[in-house]
């Protein structure tokens, strides 16, 4: 039976696999953002807004919040980012002194339930333990390494696939050679939301549908000057 512990264990396995990979290839590390916090220890997500209750958390989140909403026309669940500032922020401050070459972020689903009618209200619900892990591996040291003691953040635009680090207020593109989304639950696990049912597999498909990635390849770079 899946629960918070099984999800945390699955996430640890992913983190350990990438740690071993980077240790082997470049002797560098992957940042496992928010990995030390249990779900209960994470800041509260508001049932009224579907985002962090404390606005101060938004700029330095420990996880990425993705909203899921049932599309009556399509007859299927769809995912989208909350329409609030910092919605593309995957995670908050890193220790920029570490030799990092990748990041493993937590993705937490928030169900969005809209009532029908003139005074329709919107309510949000957060699954108790459902999560995904989103991994990026960089071609070399993270651009924010040596960026200063103030730390750095990671923003991800799932439409364009662009990853950015916000360093001292300035967005710097962080190239990546690979990206992967990890299911941490069984696909048939069911979430009952406002009288509707959403399986983890359906949620994964909805999530995957909005995440585009643009990993760099050498061939996609500018040709080298062979003067």
């Amino acid at each position: 039976m899946p629960d918070t512990n099984s999800v945390a264990d699955a996430r640890k396995k992913v983190g350990a696999a990438y740690t071993a990979l980077l240790k082997d290839v470049s002797d560098r590390q992957i940042s496992q953002a928010g990995s030390k916090k249990t779900r209960e220890q994470l800041p509260v997500i508001s049932a009224e807004t579907g985002v962090w209750r404390d606005n101060g958390i938004a700029s330095k989140p420990l996880a990425w919040l993705v909203h899921f909403e049932y599309d009556l026309d399509a007859g299927a669940w769809k995912a989208h980012l909350p329409g609030v500032p910092y919605a593309t922020r995957l995670t908050g401050t890193f220790n920029t002194k570490s030799p990092l070459q990748g990041v493993l972020c937590r993705v937490i689903p928030v169900a969005c339930m809209k009532e029908v009618g003139a005074d329709a209200k919107v309510q949000y619900d957060v699954h108790r333990y459902w999560e995904w892990a989103l991994a990026f591996v960089f071609p070399d040291l993270a651009v924010f390494t040596e960026g200063g003691s103030s730390g750095a953040t990671i923003d991800f635009n799932p439409s364009s696939g662009r990853l950015e680090s916000i360093i001292e207020g300035c967005a710097i593109e962080q190239p990546y050679v690979s990206a992967a989304l990890f299911e941490l639950n069984p696909g048939d696990d069911v979430w009952s939301v406002g009288g509707l049912q959403l399986t983890y597999g359906e949620a994964t498909n909805a999530l995957r549908a909005i995440i585009n990635v643009q990993p760099v390849t050498v061939a996609s770079e500018e040709p080298e000057d062979e003067a």
Binding site: A10, F138, C170, S178, L181, F182, E183, R208, E224, A227
Partner: protein, 355 residues
């Protein structure tokens, strides 16, 4: 492209994800230049003659120990050609050669803010950062204000990362600054610059100019391996080898050439490399294809020698003391067999440009 999905709980799926990342990472690294430039051995050039073996030995050690190189010595000793030869031997990506200029600022070499039009400005890299993947030759480095021009590179020359005083976003006072890594970092992109594994500075300085042009601070000096390129040890053999190569005609090594005596007399007051004397040889051969360098000159040959000397060597003696000039003139006149009247004219002319 949509993100690929893997199951963390399925060992095979997790392994496939990691393998995908490993393959991408290794392919990326393999396509890039190696992290460290392969150690190359700098060998004696068959085309450069008159360069002492010790010079090649010192250059080879400097290259193997990842030092920047400063070639210094009298004018005409082949420093520029030697710098090019080093660059060719250590680089598979070509090289860039620039000649020092008093007009240079750090903006020319490193970069700086430049207008983009419509009231916008931005940092644009200078020629050294643009050619950061290959040897960078600065010929006659002391013709520019070295400390001012290379100042921002002090730290990089010691293989440490430095931050340039230019913001990525000019309009934002809190914006990050451009940075230059001290060592090769594959995959580095703007706003960070990384020297390629084959980048190194090879500079030349004329010792005559060193006193009169821009001085170099001790701090910058110690960031280079200084290699003295002297005049050839045996100038008679050097000249015979060169003339034999040019004319394809053997000259006995037992004889001392008139030109050797001229060169020695010049070296006594101002050490000078081979270049002006190669110009003398070429001048003589241009006038007379069969010009005989191996025997005592007759009247027409004396005149050709004199013209060649006045055109190519005498101007290089500007600033030598008058007494020394007269001594050189006496030696030259005897070496090339000038008549007494012509000899006196040469002494007067050389004295006139002496101090």
């Amino acid at each position: 492209m949509q993100v690929s999905v893997y199951q963390a709980g399925d060992p095979a799926s997790l392994a496939a994800a990691v393998d995908m990342s490993r393959t991408a990472l290794l392919a990326y690294n393999a396509a890039k230049a190696p992290v460290h430039a392969p150690k190359v051995t700098v060998t004696k050039s068959p085309t450069l003659i008159g360069i002492d073996d010790a010079v090649y030995r010192q250059i080879d050690a400097a290259v193997k120990s990842d030092r920047h190189i400063m070639l210094y010595g009298p004018p005409g000793t082949g420093k520029t050609e030697l710098a090019r030869e080093i660059a060719v031997q250590i680089s598979s990506r070509g090289f860039t050669l620039v000649t020092g200029s008093a007009d240079w600022t750090s903006q020319d070499l490193i970069g700086g803010y430049q207008p983009l039009g419509e009231g916008k400005i931005s940092f644009l890299p200078g020629i050294m950062l643009e050619k950061f993947d290959q040897p960078f030759i600065i010929d006659e480095l002391n013709r520019c204000d070295i400390d001012k021009v290379l100042g921002p590179m002090f730290t990089v020359l010691s293989k440490h990362t430095t931050t340039l005083p230019y913001r990525v976003n000019v309009a934002d006072r809190d914006s990050a600054h451009y940075q230059i890594f001290g060592t090769f970092q594959p995959g580095t992109t703007d706003p960070k610059f990384s020297p390629g594994p084959q980048w190194r500075i090879i500079a030349t300085i004329n010792t005559i100019d060193k006193a009169s042009l821009y001085q170099m601070s001790y701090a910058l000096s110690r960031r280079f391996a200084w290699i003295f390129v002297d005049v050839p040890q045996d100038i008679n053999t050097f000249l015979i080898e060169y003339i034999t190569k040019r004319k394809s005609k053997e000259i006995s090594t037992q004889v001392e050439l008139p030109l050797t005596r001229v060169w020695r007399s010049v070296n006594a007051v101002r050490p000078m490399g081979a270049a002006p004397f190669i110009d003398v040889i070429n001048h003589c051969l241009a006038v007379e294809k069969t010009f005989d360098f191996g025997t005592a000159p007759t009247e027409p040959a004396s005149q050709v020698y004199l013209d060649a000397f006045m055109v190519n060597v005498m101007p290089m003696l500007d600033g030598v003391l008058k007494d020394e000039m007269r001594n050189v003139a006496t030696e030259v006149a005897q070496a090339i067999g000038l008549a007494s009247a012509t000899s006196e004219t040469l002494k007067r002319q050389m004295s006139s440009i002496g101090l």
